[in-house]
Amino acid sequence: MPINYSAIQSALQEFVTSVSNVQGASIMSPDGLAIASSLPAGMEEERVAAMSAAMLALGERIGRELSRGQIERILVEGEKGYAIVSSCTEDAVLIVLTDEKVKLGVINLEVRQLIDRLRPSLTFAKTNVA
């Protein structure tokens, strides 16, 4: 089964419009190539993809080095809101952008549920052509 881009795209769009305080979301491969996004105007998908992949890889590495166990998410907290990067599957990374008023407990739960919904459409079928 190939990746269902339009299903992922609509799931992201729905997430961004229906969850309060969320401003954008994007999915990329762990090596930083964009898969699907619903981002604020003027934000470049390619750049977001590369930066999210770099952040996750570095965060996971720091987590391992400093014995933090399994890494749940990488968080950037700014004056104007959060950028939250999580690993979805072996083949996909998710970044969610929120405003500063978001409740972290709520958004963490929403993100986890989104990942659960997306997971089936995000695993590249390892087609074993003999």
Binding site: G32, E46, R47, A49, A54, A57, L58
Partner: protein
């Protein structure tokens, strides 16, 4: 009391697959840190993984100097990492894959970028994969970069990034450059 250690930050850059991660892994005294991920783009047929953030390694150099080695990603989409790493550089090693002339253009672009971001830092060019039969001789690589080899002040070497001796030779050449510059500055001031 132990003499304070001088730290020189060396940035290892170059196009995809030049051997940046390998270079650092070959020489680092600590287990080098990499952020390689499975490649899913058109490079995947060349090699299975690619650096997405940075590499890090460390080498002691004499009694009171340590080199901190930072490897950049090679892919253009990670150019924000080039920026972050190059701005801190005390010295730069630009690796160019001598067996892949198609990548010389990308290497020369990176050279210009590095020059612009870290104009003070001494830089040298090492052509990797020189152990392979199809590798270009270094004398032919510089002109492909648009550099006149006879006029250029940039030191160049042909190396195998998997050989510790070659990597050490490269770093020694860079440290010498760095020392010359620091001395020249001290005399001038």
């Amino acid at each position: 009391m132990k003499a304070p250690e001088q730290i020189m930050r060396v940035v290892v850059t170059g196009p995809v697959g030049a051997g940046k991660t390998t270079f650092i892994k070959t020489i680092s005294e600590i287990e080098s840190i990499d952020t390689d991920r499975r490649a899913t783009d058109e490079m995947a047929h060349l090699k299975p993984t690619t650096t997405v953030a940075m590499d890090f390694g460390r080498v002691t150099f004499g009694p009171n100097m340590a080199l901190h080695l930072y490897g950049t990603p090679g892919q253009e989409r990670f150019n924000f990492m080039w920026d972050i790493l190059l701005r801190q550089a005390h010295g730069i090693v630009l690796l160019a894959p001598a067996h892949r002339p198609k990548d010389f253009f990308a290497a020369s672009r990176l050279l210009r970028y590095a020059r612009q971001r870290a104009p003070e830092a001494p830089l040298l060019i090492a052509a990797t994969h020189s152990d392979l039969p199809q590798a270009w001789p270094i004398a032919d690589i510089l002109p492909a970069f648009g550099i006149d080899a006879s006029e250029s002040q940039i030191p160049t070497l042909s190396i195998n990034a998997t050989a510790e001796r070659d990597v050490a030779r490269t770093l020694i050449a860079l440290v010498e450059r760095y020392a010359e510059r620091s001395n020249a500055k001290r005399i001038a001031s």
